[in-house]
């Protein structure tokens, strides 16, 4: 039992040292960054978070935001809600002026706390669509197209692909059977009534790796003219394979924003196997953006190779996108305040002044206002052509009025 004494003593020493080391910190602007590199959505987090860090390092290496260094404090929450809540408490303690949320349940669990503490949180591509209404959710910023906006943009894209008129056309909506998967339904129903197309919904039960029956139904019985596919995780790659096997032209399948990463394509057998598949994006895809060149140059100046994560441009670029919007909001806040001593409230106002900030095409021409916290719900469609993602549209919004109508309906319900 002597060993036990030593063990306990050693453990105590290590903890004390760890405590001492973390308490040191300089006056920097702190951003709380929640990540999932190990949980069920790790295929996103392992690329998105490096993108975020790289953009912040790039800005810091150029002198920071208005001369102030930015310090993102990353915490991996493994997509567990309690861990996310604890991460938020730590970020708050460290004086974060802005929280980069990750995960729909986390966003919902923290919405009230963020509002009470007056710290803005961003939820690009997840969270509730209704949170785009800044009057109801003053401290939640989706900053990217919500599922409602994605659905309406998807319908608009289908309209252009099917010759401009949807009357009598058949659209299949295949979705992951969870709240996020069902969220676009109100928009789709609204647009169905307005445009007169035939809509049929096909639910894929979690974990979404078995959908041959649904795909057969879509291709053989319903004979859809176009398929909108709102799937997550492993499901998108399975859907690509199934549609391919059923002989359905992949040109007529459009994935929503979580159904078109490089990893999904690779899991479906590689780019040459899914020629024609298109996916919606809220940040630019590909490596031909000036900001990415600068990041590569930054690594080169350090004598290092650019990180492997950069090759997965869909999610890496989203990390850059999120970081860029964050730093722009902080820049606006500092400019408005005239000093770096900013609060969460200042950053919130900073967000609401973002407009016309495109970062060389990586960021859509969004305009965030006091009402519209998703900045207009812009998306761009990228299609697999010649074994790579090629943009087939410019940034566009679809039926914005329908989305705004729903936002107002939701607001009046509360």
């Amino acid at each position: 039992m002597r060993r036990l004494d030593k063990l306990l003593f050693g453990a105590g020493l290590a903890l004390a040292a760890a405590g001492a080391a973390t308490s040191a910190g300089a006056a920097e602007i702190v951003i709380g960054l929640q990540c999932d590199r190990t949980g069920p959505t790790q295929t996103v987090g392992t690329f998105l978070c490096p993108g975020y860090h790289d953009y912040v390092s790039l800005v810091n290496s150029k002198g920071g935001v208005e001369g102030n260094m930015i310090k993102p404090l990353e915490i991996d929450h493994e997509y567990k809600v309690p861990a996310g809540v604890e991460a938020y408490a730590l970020h708050k303690k460290e004086g974060a002026v802005l929280i980069s949320l990750y995960g729909t349940p986390h966003t919902q669990a923290l919405t009230q706390k963020l509002t009470e503490d007056k710290i803005p949180g961003t939820s690009p591509g997840f969270g509730t669509a209704a949170a785009a209404n800044g009057e109801n959710f003053p401290y939640i910023f989706p900053i990217a197209a919500s599922y409602w906006s994605q659905a309406s943009a998807g319908v608009e894209y289908v309209r252009t692909q099917l010759g401009g008129d949807l009357k009598g056309k058949k659209i299949a909506y295949i979705y992951y059977d969870n709240p996020a998967g069902r969220e676009p339904l109100p928009v789709l129903h609204k647009l169905r009534d307005r445009l007169g197309f035939e809509l049929k919904e096909f639910a894929v039960p979690p974990p979404g790796i078995e959908m041959s029956a649904q795909v057969l139904d879509i291709t053989r019985r319903f004979r859809a003219d176009f398929v909108l596919s709102h799937l997550f995780g492993r499901a998108p790659s399975v859907s690509m394979k199934e549609f391919k096997r059923a002989g359905y032209p992949l040109e007529q399948v459009l994935g929503f924003v979580w159904a078109g990463g490089e990893a999904d394509i690779a899991a479906a057998g590689g780019f040459d196997r899914v020629e024609g598949y298109s996916a919606m994006q809220f940040a630019g895809v590909g490596s031909d953006y000036p900001v990415l060149d600068e990041i590569r140059a930054m690594y080169k100046a350090d004598g290092k190779d650019p990180p492997e994560a950069m090759a997965s441009t869909v999610y890496y670029n989203r990390g850059v996108f999120v970081a860029a919007i964050h730093l722009k909001a902080i820049e606006n806040a500092i400019k408005a305040k005239g000093s770096a001593d900013i609060t969460g409230e200042d950053v919130k106002n900073g967000f609401e002044q973002i407009s016309g900030f495109t970062l060389g095409g990586l960021v859509p021409p969004m305009e965030i206002t006091g009402f519209d916290h998703e900045g207009g719900g812009w998306v761009r469609i990228f299609q697999v052509k010649d074994a790579k993602f090629v943009p087939v549209t410019d940034w566009f919004q679809g039926y914005r009025d329908a989305v705004v109508e729903l936002l107002k309906e939701d607001a009046s319900r509360q």
Partner: protein
Amino acid sequence: MFHRESGYYKTTYKGDMAFYPLPVGRWSVALIGILFLVVVPLFLDPYYLSILCLISIAIVGALGLNILLGYTGQISIGHAAFMSVGAYTAANLITKLDWPFWLAVPSGGIMAAAVGVLVGIPSLRIKGLYLAIATLAAQFIIEWVINHTPAISGGVQASIEVPRPTFFGEKLDTEVELYYFLMAFAAVAIVATMNLVRSRIGRAFIAIRDQDIAAEIIGINVFRYKLYAFAISSFYAGVAGVLYTYYLSIANYEQFLIVVSIDYLAMVIIGGLGSVLGSVFGAVFVTLFPTVIRIFMDAFGSFFFDPVIQAQVTAQFRLILFGALIMFFLVVEPEGLNRLWLNIRNYFRVWPFSY
């Protein structure tokens, strides 16, 4: 070491049945009570209080599972589903009928207990792995029902926002107030479990766990007591679910997925099956572990890794270490942290005269 255990005579039944027959035991409990009631909330940063809040909730849930798994020997992989039953029941009562917390918390527990009894019925016929699968099925059925019944889930999002609890008109919205609120429930749960396991019901549970045929022969109604165990265990789970709902001010089924059930299983197994203190240790360990690893890696990780990949390494390292530690505990101390604690205590009891 500091006290003698001899020389205390009990002259009443009450004295004989006391939790802590020795003064040193009573004093330590009083000291721990003062520590957590006065010192901790006064001096700790809200961040640490938030961790303690999460631990308090986990303690309630882990105690419930330990009653079922550790004391009665019936496995359940649907613990998180019972938590969600409690959470949604309370959330609906709070938002639709404006019920205060002292009604919402027990009703969430009772609803969960009712569902738990239903799920527990097969336990008379099936045991062990088969029961595990039956409760696993319950987890998925409950998840599905909540997800597809707007009357329960409150709409497409399957999440119901809940206002903060109010206590005599005072809204409990700061971290300190929530800490007291949750800690009170954890304390009640601990005391209730300690009493339960030495009552008639608790002894029946233990008899069933050790040998159910023998238990039946000595006159224990096995069916009834197994259902009691499911009901009580689910009641705790339901209460934990309601506490979650209050703490996060939202009920959302994604907080109660199968992984959470597994986490609770890990808590009671790491902490020690069939021990109240073990449940507490397990809840503390599983909740605190990611944080400790992160602090450790933030402090020392930069010596070993490039900052660019450190974040990635930290996240993965935690999972590897967590798995390794579970194996370590199971091999070195199968009876869990509770046994480890008893070993330390027994060692110091006679220290420095070990023999």
